[in-house]
């Protein structure tokens, strides 16, 4: 999966979980959960959508890789 596809998948997941959240305005290295005010249920839904969209299995141990936008893209594109 290319970085662009990864970014697109994350954007779509965020849009569905927190429609009014402003992802664009968030710095790539800013914490996603704080920046977008995602509580644990929102974050679980976010992971669920990402799994559907990318087919990648994401375990709880992988959560730290998804802390920021930049790290999430690297993780998803890294394969």
């Amino acid at each position: 999966m290319t970085p662009d596809q990864a970014r697109h998948a994350i954007e779509e997941a965020v849009a569905r979980v927190a429609p009014d959240a402003d992802l664009a305005g968030l710095a790539p290295d800013a914490d996603l959960r704080d920046g977008l005010e995602l509580d644990s249920l929102d974050f679980l839904r976010f992971i669920e959508i990402l799994t559907e969209r990318t087919g990648r299995q994401i375990t709880e141990d992988d959560y730290p890789h998804l802390a920021t936008l930049a790290s999430a893209i690297k993780f998803l594109a890294g394969g």
Binding site: A18, E37, D39, S40, L44, R45, I47, E60
Partner: protein
Amino acid sequence: MPALGADMDEGTVLEWLVKPGDEIRKGDVIAVIDTAKAAIDAESFITGTIEQLIIGVGETVPVGTVLAMISEPAAPKAAPPPPPAGEPQRQAATPEHVPAAPGRPAPPISPLIRKRAHELGVNLAGLRGSGRGGALTRADVERAAARREPAGAGARSKATPRARRVAAELGVSLADVTGTGPGGSVREADVRRAVPAGEAAPAREPVPAREPAPEALAARSPAERTRSMRQAIARLMARSKREIPHYYVSSTVDMTSALSWMHERNRELAVSERLVPAALLLKAAALAARRVPGVNGYWVDDQFRPAEAVHLGLAISLRGGGLLTPAIHDAAELPLAELMSGMRDLVIRARAGRLRGSELTDATITMTNLGEQGVESVFGVIYPPQVALVGFGKITERPVAVGGLIGVRPVVVTTLAADHRASDGYTGARYLTALSDLLQKPGELL
């Protein structure tokens, strides 16, 4: 047995006009049949030989029963096979409702039925089901409810549907409204008069209100909706602080075994079933409330009324402000997986404004979890007429002494705000201890 009339179900053989061995022709009258109305000649529709008379004189049999056997001559006549004897259309009715085989365990109670039973305050234990296989149906529950006095508040006060709806919207308890309508019935004007500007409206009526209050909320513009929600919260909180003598207790709980147990389970679960810590806290809070009933129920008419089941209210903050506290019914009985999906469902629907009135008004104890917002602990305000509110702070890594040694452990500060009219600190403390014990043995939370 021929059908000899539009309204004939059975017939009696009055007389046989033939005997075995007789040759008969199509159209010959071979018997006389008594229908309810008259004696009628029955004819044969085929030519042949009487083989055997099966139904004797004086016997009454339903339409379609084979009366006699007639053999047709061997000649290859193009005659069609006689119509299927004894299988008239009418008998192919759908099979009657099959009662449960005795001895088979009654099927599990569906959540819908449990929810309906809760709404009507009906105890399901020992209630016989009339559904397929002995299953409980909505009708069984409703009949049970009708048969006895609803638990909780006194007899249902006489109020018009409109008055009930407005009362639900404004958080006014009909029990506190004097009706000026015919026979002292409460009308809309009476409800509105009961809410003077500024003064907090009396608490919601403990008996679950039927009216779809949230739809009333959803029907109006968003701004209007948040304003009236703010008003309702303001009234409730002001009343709570004015009427309820709160006392507070807190305790720091070690989350190590709970979290590691959860991570272990999550490894095997698909993403959609994966658990979050809040689910464990919720389940523990519910089970603890069952163990320490003194915190689970209502303060009504100057006395504490313990609730039969634990309906755990969940404080859900809405995006853009506002707070709703829908209840998860039978939280103590529900399996953890169902509790998790129930919680997710409530949060999604609350934020979409699609909650039902009954869900909003029948919590027996409420839980608020501000850990996600990063605070260490929260001492909340009780939702009248409940008598307790359990609070959870953020789960953080803290240095803890365990067995004489210092270690770093994930811990959470749990608090309880309780109504000193209904219980004393002793009960509050016992509740938090029970909560902590449960979190040390996560397997029991399943």
